[in-house]
């Protein structure tokens, strides 16, 4: 049977380059459509038994959690859990579901799916956000029961067997962070765009990733192996021996050329004509500090501190943060460590269960109609100053052990920088840090307002950091994860070039460093353009450093400037794209 499985080639959206060969693992988010399976009449009783067992286990879960939270923990939590218990005894969940299983003769999961859809439909058209929030309770309960129905879905990405190709509806950043190359050889998803956070991490880790693939349809196919071609955007099911051989060769080729690049990555980042270009690393996982130094980084140009939260699903305390930052600072031996303070909210959210410790921060904000324009990053931190205070204090304490710098995400007004600086000054006084040794504070330029007001920000900030991923999305009003606007999302739109030129000019005028840390900083086709626009500092994922340095070392500043001048004359996105493609192939 398996031998007869035919080779099938599917085309999707290439998200992260490389070739992955491995065994399929369906990694289900609960939101995913559950296939509806008809159940023969004689097995209905067994299906109902299965449901009752799952319900009983869920009750036990909540009962246990409640006992714990009654002992210690806020009374609200115990109350919420009591409500969840009541829900599980609710006739709509007990008899009604059983009746439906009997009537429809299909699997419990699909009956649940219908029920949840029904609730969502009803509540979503209500304008009242409080009621909308209530659906979460229902969904939480349903989710718990669903988990018990299919315990396999509780797989963790970090615990998969070697060479797994993860097939799922959508990747969330907190899961992607746990993935590592020997275990995970590829990602295939239904949703997700090129610049989603999960995609950025996949690229940083060198895990091939293809999106926009309808994985539902091959759940029913006999699957032995599959190839993920993240460069072409292909997914090949049950590859024939010939195909497999071809791809193994390509993969070996990639590995060899990467090794070659890497062997040159200790060289200085400088252009042919000797201009120094400083290359730093972006970092999510504090443990990877050694890796970035090995790859030839001058330091950490962007530490995405929110991953400390995303990985743990709760905010680390001041002491925990202090120890992490201190350890990183020591490992960096005096090289810079730019800590971007928590960029939480928007698309970087985890669905915390109401009983989790820090869920209240998010429930206070509630579901936002437009999270990308919502209460996230510095807005979120200023809303909850206790979080900001703890983080700044941890950074300042750790700053005694190295060259630490603070980066504020999503600044949209000068007042935000001033508030952070005021708090930093206050904490410095508490800690007795002399004013002379004040820590540098930088602004992310990723919101159009701050790009336009860049001259004012440059005067007061100690450095600027251009986050192109968000800047492009906000400037072009194109959602970077929406498949329908992906065509509009040009990292090289003429407007972006002009904006970058403006930011660099403001920074130069105020004699402040400016660093670029978006995805496009690692694109070999765009690096010369950025050099020509005046960028002299890059921060990219550690594994891209060899390639970035290699590209920089091939160009002369004068040529790069000419390239940029020509590029600035292009007025339409496609023209500019064609121009860059024609001028940078070398």
């Amino acid at each position: 049977m398996l031998a007869m499985a035919e080779e099938v080639i599917l085309r999707g959206l290439p998200v992260s380059k490389g070739i992955g060969i491995g065994l399929p693992v369906f990694f289900s988010n609960w939101d995913e459509d559950v296939p509806q399976v008809q159940i023969p009449v004689k097995e209905i009783d067994r299906e109902i038994e299965r449901y009752r067992a799952a319900l009983a286990l869920s009750c036990q879960d909540v009962e246990g959690l409640r006992t714990v939270s009654l002992k210690d923990g806020p009374s609200e939590i115990a109350l919420i859990l009591s409500t969840h218990l009541e829900m599980m005894k609710d006739p709509m969940l007990t008899t009604a579901i059983e009746e439906k299983i009997r009537a429809l003769q299909c699997n419990t999961e699909s009956v649940f799916q219908h029920l949840i859809e029904e609730y969502k439909r009803r509540f979503n058209h209500l304008q009242d956000s409080y009621f909308q929030e209530r659906v979460r309770d229902i969904i939480d309960v349903c989710k718990r029961i669903l988990h018990h129905l299919c315990p396999l879905q509780r797989l963790k990405i970090g615990e998969l067997p070697n060479n797994s190709v993860v097939l799922t509806h959508e990747l969330v950043p907190s899961e992607t962070v746990e993935a590592s190359p020997p275990l995970i050889s590829g990602f295939v998803t239904m949703a997700g765009g090129i610049t989603s956070h999960a995609a950025i991490i996949a690229r940083a880790k060198g895990i091939p990733y293809v999106a926009n693939i309808d994985i539902k349809m091959f759940k029913h196919l006999p699957l032995k192996a599959l190839i993920v071609d993240g460069s072409q955007g292909l997914v090949i099911l049950n590859p024939a021996r010939k195909t497999l051989k071809k791809y193994q060769e390509i993969k070996r080729g990639h590995q060899a050329s990467y090794r070659q690049l890497k062997s040159a990555s200790h060289l200085r980042g400088e252009t042919v004509d000797g201009y120094e270009v400083r290359v730093f690393a972006n970092l999510e996982n504090p443990k990877e500090v050694d890796l970035i130094l090995k790859n030839g980084a001058l330091g950490v140009g962007l530490f995405r501190s929110e991953y400390l939260f995303l990985a743990k699903r709760e905010f680390p305390s001041e002491e925990e943060q202090f120890l992490i930052y201190k350890k990183m600072a020591v490992a960096l031996k005096g090289s810079p460590l730019v800590i971007r303070i928590f960029d939480i909210g928007g698309d970087k959210k985890v669905d915390l269960l109401p009983e989790q410790r820090d869920a209240h921060y998010f429930s206070k904000i509630g579901p936002e109609l437009n999270p990308a324009l919502g209460c996230r990053a510095i807005r979120f931190l200023l809303r909850f100053p206790e979080l900001l205070y703890a983080q700044l204090r941890a950074i300042l304490r750790a700053s005694a052990f190295g060259d630490l710098q603070i980066l504020i995400p999503m600044v949209s007004d000068l007042s935000e920088l001033r508030q952070v600086r005021a708090m930093v000054n206050e904490i410095s006084k508490e800690l007795g840090i002399p004013a002379k040794k004040s820590i540098p504070i930088g602004c992310m330029i990723e919101v159009p307002s701050s790009a336009i007001m860049c001259d004012a920000l440059a005067k007061e900030a100690d450095f600027l950091s251009i986050g192109t991923n968000d800047l492009v999305q906000y400037l072009l009003a194109a959602d970077r994860t929406n498949p329908h606007t992906v065509d509009l999302y040009f990292a090289t739109h003429p407007s972006i070039l002009r904006m970058i030129r403006m930011i660099v000019a403001s920074a130069n005028c105020a004699r402040k460093p400016v660093i670029i840390c978006g995805e496009c900083a690692a694109d070999p086709a765009l690096i010369p353009l950025l050099l020509g626009l005046g960028i002299r500092e890059f921060s990219v994922a550690a594994r891209h450093i060899p390639l970035v340095k290699h590209t920089i070392r091939k160009w002369r500043i004068l040529e790069a400037c000419r390239l940029a001048e020509g590029a600035l004359e292009q007025t339409a996105a496609q023209e500019l794209k064609d121009y860059i493609a024609a001028e940078t192939c070398r």
Partner: protein
């Protein structure tokens, strides 16, 4: 015996999870059949999920229908709970 009575939702947040749970708990010792009607929908008041499904906000008019031997005491209890805003006053 069958009783029908109209009540108004007085608490600020409407019939959300907590009041819904309170209603279900309150009904547990009673034997009668209790239905809520709001807009064109009639639901079993012993089901939290159904009560939530009504999405009845503050100032909604709910018609309570109770059928059974202890209809009278049940009605007294439940009307009082609505009056007292389920302890959220």
């Amino acid at each position: 015996m069958k009783l029908v009575c109209k009540v108004k939702v007085k608490n600020a947040l409407g019939l959300h999870t907590r009041p819904a749970a309170a209603i279900v708990r309150l009904l547990q010792p009673h034997k009668s059949n209790v239905m809520f009607t709001y807009r064109d929908e009639t639901i079993n008041a012993r089901s939290i999920m159904s009560i939530l499904m009504l999405a009845a906000k503050k100032n909604s008019q709910i018609t309570i229908t109770i059928e059974g031997d202890d209809a009278e005491t049940t009605m007294t209890h439940i009307v009082r709970a609505f009056e007292e805003e389920f302890g959220e006053k």
